[in-house]
């Protein structure tokens, strides 16, 4: 389905608001939306909510033959599915530009930065290695799928447990989870991507654009870093021209954001570990809000409320004089037709009128430009 085009007035509204450093949901320029991480019942399944953007990542593994030029390393495979569930403009099965872009960015962010020790995934050199596959499904698109997907992918990889194997000579035994506890993957570091949207040819910058902001942006800069301040990937997209200082500034902001997000992920992993140990139920069903009256309750967003009355009165003082509390009285050219308002002169109905009496009366009204209070005089005149 083709995307509904954005109307010009909405576009202008968004751009003007951004010029005045205001965002639709009341965030500051460098603020992220609320990030919520929940886990599914299986190891390696995690859901990430970034505001209204929701993605799910699932990690699975199987034994395959390794690549010829790398016989001692396991294989990592990433896939982001853009399903029509997330947005009606996504088409099932078609490899759209956005899907290619997201897939390649995620691959570069996680694979090239060597965040997982692939050598430890080798079982029999040259014959059998583990292929770890990360599938990210987008469930709801409200902007910034890249960041949500990167958080989901790395959290799922940290959460995942692969089956234990034992090698005795030529024989390889894979133990099921009941026989032996599965082993977690060895994760060296956690690369997280931070997206910056640029507006008005690079003059304005926003972190974590929502879907509306993404529609009006000029371009996007994605920086993936880990908490050790190592940059894992930088990618600029869209037809914007950047300056070196902008890139440096973005990388500084990104390092701050990444450390916050990494903290959140570690906390979520710890909570999940504790919950599983305590034997509690954890899964998709538990992470959904309960079916009660409070289910649609939204978290209160903080709005800047200081000096509201002062700024309010300031705005009123600056504005033009208030519209008059009175309204021009309705004019009746023909019985059954009434005209009220400021555009009466240009309607041209008076010239077409054959009724002399009414016409003269109205002409008199317009020349005087008399403004009359609606009650109680109109009850007299509209008879």
């Amino acid at each position: 389905m083709k995307e509904t085009p954005l109307s010009n007035c909405e576009r202008d509204f968004l751009l003007r608001a951004i010029e005045e450093k205001k965002r639709l949901d009341g965030r500051q320029t460098y603020d992220y939306r609320k990030l919520k991480i929940t886990f599914g019942t299986d190891y390696g399944c995690c859901f990430v909510d970034l505001g209204q953007t929701r993605v799910m990542a699932q990690v699975s593994c199987e034994l395959v033959a390794p690549k010829e030029n790398r016989p001692t390393e396991g294989i990592l495979f990433f896939n982001i599915e853009l399903s029509p569930m997330a947005s009606p403009s996504f088409e099932q099965g078609r490899q759209s530009e956005l899907s290619v872009k997201l897939n390649r960015q995620l691959e570069r962010c996680l694979r090239n930065s060597k965040c997982i020790d692939t050598e430890s995934l080798c079982v029999v050199s040259g014959e059998k290695v583990w292929q770890v596959r990360v599938d990210v499904h987008t469930l709801n698109n409200d902007g910034n799928l890249m960041d949500a997907a990167s958080v989901a992918a790395i959290t799922a990889l940290c959460h995942f447990r692969r089956p234990d194997v034992a090698i005795q000579g030529e024989e390889v035994t894979v133990f099921s989870p009941e026989e032996r506890d599965p082993i977690p993957l060895s994760v060296y570091h956690m690369p997280i991507s931070v997206s910056f949207a640029f507006f008005q040819q690079g003059t304005f910058l926003l972190v974590d654009p929502c879907e509306r902001e993404e529609r009006v942006m000029d371009g996007l800069l994605m920086i993936a870093m880990n908490k050790h301040r190592e940059i894992c990937s930088i990618q600029s997209s869209g037809g914007i021209m950047l300056l070196k200082d902008q890139v440096m500034r973005c990388s500084k902001i990104a390092s701050v954001k990444v450390s916050e997000i990494t903290e959140l992920i570690s906390q979520a992993l710890l909570n999940d570990k504790a919950a599983r140990k305590a034997g509690g139920k954890c899964g998709f069903a538990e992470s959904m809000p309960q079916d009660r009256i409070t289910a649609l309750k939204m978290d209160q967003t903080d709005v800047e409320m200081t000096n509201v009355s002062q700024t309010g009165s300031g705005v009123i003082l600056q504005g033009d004089e208030a519209p008059p509390p009175t309204v021009p009285s309705p004019v009746v050219p023909v019985p059954g037709v009434g005209q009220v308002g400021q555009g009466l002169q240009s309607w041209g109905l008076e010239e077409e009128e054959e009724d002399d009496d009414d016409e003269e009366e109205e002409k008199g009204y317009f020349e005087e430009e008399e403004v009359v209070i609606l009650y109680p005089e109109t009850t007299e005149k509209s008879k």
Binding site: E97, R104, L221, R229, E230, S236, K244
Partner: protein
Amino acid sequence: MAGIELLSDQGYRLDGRKATELRKVQARLGVFAQADGSAYLEQGNTKVLAVVYGPHEMRGSRSRTLHDRAVINCQYSMATFSTAERKRRPHGDRKSTEMSLHLKQTFEAAVMTQLFPRSQIDIYVKILQSDGGNYSVCVNAATLAVIDAGIPMRDYVCACTVGFVDETPLADLCYAEESGGVSSLALALLPRGGQIALVQMDARLHQDHLEALIEAATTACKGVSKVLDEVVRQHLQEASVLTGE
């Protein structure tokens, strides 16, 4: 990675260059008479052919026509014989599509598309021999082809891939250096204003080194722009001699 030393103690790289030296650039404009613009560029051992058609009427999906500017359509493909092992899928796989998107993005920023509303400009790039810095050489070749086609651009678009080894930025990486796990940054620049049309970096690099790397890339791109400028002027001189001016 054990074994290969990318930067020796005396400051020489694998192919004998110094850290800031670019590879030898040889280029020709107007290699095809049929196309609107074409160029062949060799940077070291990487050989790229770029062909430009346009601006012409929108072909294919009319719905993608833009009312106020031209649409730029790029296609990047590698010849099957371009790499050490025969490439089974020259185009249509994810890496080629991504590269095409990046080229499109780079040229959308540089070409003055507002002058050609409702039309399409096609840029086709083919790698004949791949020896590192694929994206950068493609951008340089495509710039020459666009100039040959006479399409107005804001400035030359020059690109270079730089890497970071032993606290030193290396300009213009070759394949051996790229695959050695070196953090590489590809930068497409408009030299006069210093504006970056595209920046792309893979592999880990500490934040403190980023500034130095971008600086090195900018300097390398400015060097490339001088070479491209020289090539264009020489071509114009040859053409004017032939037309008898």
